[in-house]
């Protein structure tokens, strides 16, 4: 029983990451109809916003400490960060510690700018082009973005810890009457879950309670007619793209402490996020979110030892297996709209 609750919790958390990534993608892919292979790169750039901010905060100057030696036997150069030098180790240290949450503020303008530039500079010429062309250009862009990040930060993962306040885990089991340590959950992952819920809710509210969503949907179905009705659809597509980039980026920022960011983390998530969006159904935001949670939970269950002993390797394929089953039983995924990318 506790094992099951544990995996549900796990699945919810995993699912919130999937849902958040898929949410950004579905704004571009499900709504604007652009097969955006650079979406993973946006996620990755978000994570590197956190890395960059913590690098900026830890910019430091060197002083020579004659009592210690470095690996070549010379006196050791000790680094002190400017922030700590200026604001004192207490406040400065706290700022460095809180780099990841601070990076949210840092990432929003950057990601929106990246989204705008990407859309205005490149994607806007591709709305009417075949999906295959979109794949080629966004894939090329993804490679370029990755390589740029790699040139600056190297190929290895870069540790980007959460604030010390969120270290450790929360004992759910005790709350539910199980013995200690039966169901524990890291604090930061709980934060991530809450964050995902807020972002998802915000995006839903924006698209539900304004006409923006309807206009963009209409624009995707028929750009020309929307133009005839006096609407500047280009502008709205750009905004949508910026929004999607921001959502992707924020998902990345918050993900940085969970797994150390590296330059190819976007590609690792790319296929999965496409699967999530399509399983959710093209053009459906709730679908993408639901599919994210569903796949997250099923994946968690599949990784249980009891399940794996019956079906060896099931955790390797569960996502794809579920995707196939859902797409065969429901022609347009969970909640897909008719006619979106069906030809």
């Amino acid at each position: 029983m506790d094992a099951i609750i544990l995996q549900i919790l796990n699945g919810l958390d995993k699912g919130s990451a999937y849902a958040l990534i898929a949410l950004g993608l579905t704004l571009i892919f499900g709504t604007l109809g652009v097969v955006n292979f650079a979406h993973g790169a946006l996620f990755m750039i978000g994570a590197f916003c956190a890395v960059t901010l913590s690098r900026i905060l830890t910019l430091s100057f060197e002083t020579v400490d004659p009592t210690q030696t470095d690996f070549l036997g010379q006196p050791l150069k000790v680094k002190t960060t400017y922030i700590e030098a200026w604001f004192g180790p207490e406040f400065g240290g706290a700022m460095i510690d809180w780099a990841v949450p601070l990076a949210i503020l840092f990432a929003i303008p950057i990601m929106i700018a990246v989204g705008f530039i990407m859309e205005r500079g490149l994607i806007k010429h591709f709305y009417k082009r075949p999906h295959a062309d979109q794949i080629l250009v966004t894939f090329g862009l993804a490679i370029v973005l990755q390589e740029i990040i790699k040139a600056f930060y190297g190929a290895n993962p870069i540790p980007t810890p959460a604030p010390a306040a969120f270290k450790g885990s929360f004992d759910f089991g005790v709350l539910l009457g199980f013995e200690a340590n039966a169901i524990i959950y890291p604090y930061w992952r709980l934060v991530y879950f809450a964050f995902a819920a807020i972002i998802i809710g915000g995006v839903f509210a924006f698209l539900q309670f304004t006409t923006f969503g309807m206009v963009v949907r209409a624009g995707m179905a028929d750009r020309e007619t929307v133009g005839i009705l006096g609407i500047n659809i280009d502008k709205r597509f750009t905004i949508m793209f910026g929004l999607a980039a921001a959502v992707a980026g924020l998902a990345g920022v918050m993900y940085a402490p969970i797994n150390s960011p590296n330059y190819h983390m976007g590609m690792d998530f790319l296929v999965l996020s496409f699967v999530v969006v399509v399983v959710g159904g093209m053009g459906s935001l709730p679908g993408a979110v639901a599919a994210g949670f569903l796949l997250g939970i099923l994946e968690s269950f599949a990784s249980m030892n009891q399940v794996k002993s019956i079906f060896p390797g099931i955790d390797q394929i569960i996502i794809y297996l579920v995707a196939i089953i859902i797409l065969l039983t429901r022609p347009r995924g969970l909640l897909g709209r008719k006619g979106v990318m069906e030809d």
Partner: protein
Amino acid sequence: MLGLNNKDTLLLIIVAAITLLAPFILNPFPTQSAMAQFNAGYPDLMQRFVIFGIFAIGFNILFGLTGYLSFGHAAFLGVGSYSAVWMFKLLSMNVIPAILLAMLISGLFAVLIGFVSLRRSGIYFSILTLAFAQMSFNLAYSVLTPITNGETGLQLTLNDPRILGQVTTAEGSIPVTSLFGLEMRSTYEMIFGPWSFQFNAGYYLCAIIMLLSFYIAIRIFRSPFGMMLRAIKSNQTRMSYTGLNPRPYTLAAFVISGMYAGLAGGLMASMDPLAGAERMQWTASGEVVLMTILGGAGTLIGPILGAGFIKYFENIFSKINDNILHSWFAFMPDGFENALVAIVHPFVGKGWHLTLGILFMLVVVFLPGGLVEAGQRVAKLFRRRKSEKTSDESAQSKPAE
């Protein structure tokens, strides 16, 4: 000729000429020159060009004609490779049974996957094929290791039974793949002044098979069947109200292109008897998609061009290191030399991905029809210049009259 119209015959002849003379064409630089780095005329890469050409031609039969974008085609390539290597392990080192089995097994696999996936169209189809291929890849990498040898890839060993051939050679090594005794790796090297050209048996086998595949593809493109496939791409509703059942048509196209992929996989294993699981990964499927679009989807020659383009960058650009850059720019003053090396450095060697990414973007932005369009534009330019010339001439000739 051969049941083709003049234009197609010409195309076929040109492609045949280029592939058969490839050892010359791809090695334009003397071996000792600095530019020799750009020579691509060595057996492995030439084989890769034509093998991936076959893969892309087959993919294009499905994608270019019907518009169904399969994102799992690499699975068939992988299955073909595994079948071929098993044939080498169990039966004999002759490539013919291996290639035939590769096509057969991948064809069967395609029937299975196609039958299920073709129930959906558009992006849903793409994701279904992707899911099947990723499942195959993940299983091949881990659970199916007894069949696939997992991470390392299936390879020949000294303990293979090989019922119809020798188990080990006289020297105690593993025998090599051959076509009735003609070893695939045997290479004749022709030295011509400072140039050297390599003629490899395996390459010519692949090249001939590629030409055959290309010829068949042309026939398919021009056949009523090909027209039906284009009709499916254009309007499935009209198709079914016209009394045609789109499903068997798409399935047939899917299986044909799956068999092309299997053939490519079989050949790959015949040239180098190892079948790695990565051959089935989504990135490999993505690669053939990119090849086809880059070259020009729906065109006959495009996919071959795209395949060549990507494989060239992967194999040639990745090998250019700083050492080589320095030797290129050595004639310049030191400061200049270092500056130039620093500028070029990010784009070669470990930066070859960056160059490829930039080229993808440039091609798709400026040549919407892919590399084929570049060719068409050049041709048009020539024609225009010619016609300008003639009109110039006539303008000039007028006063003389």
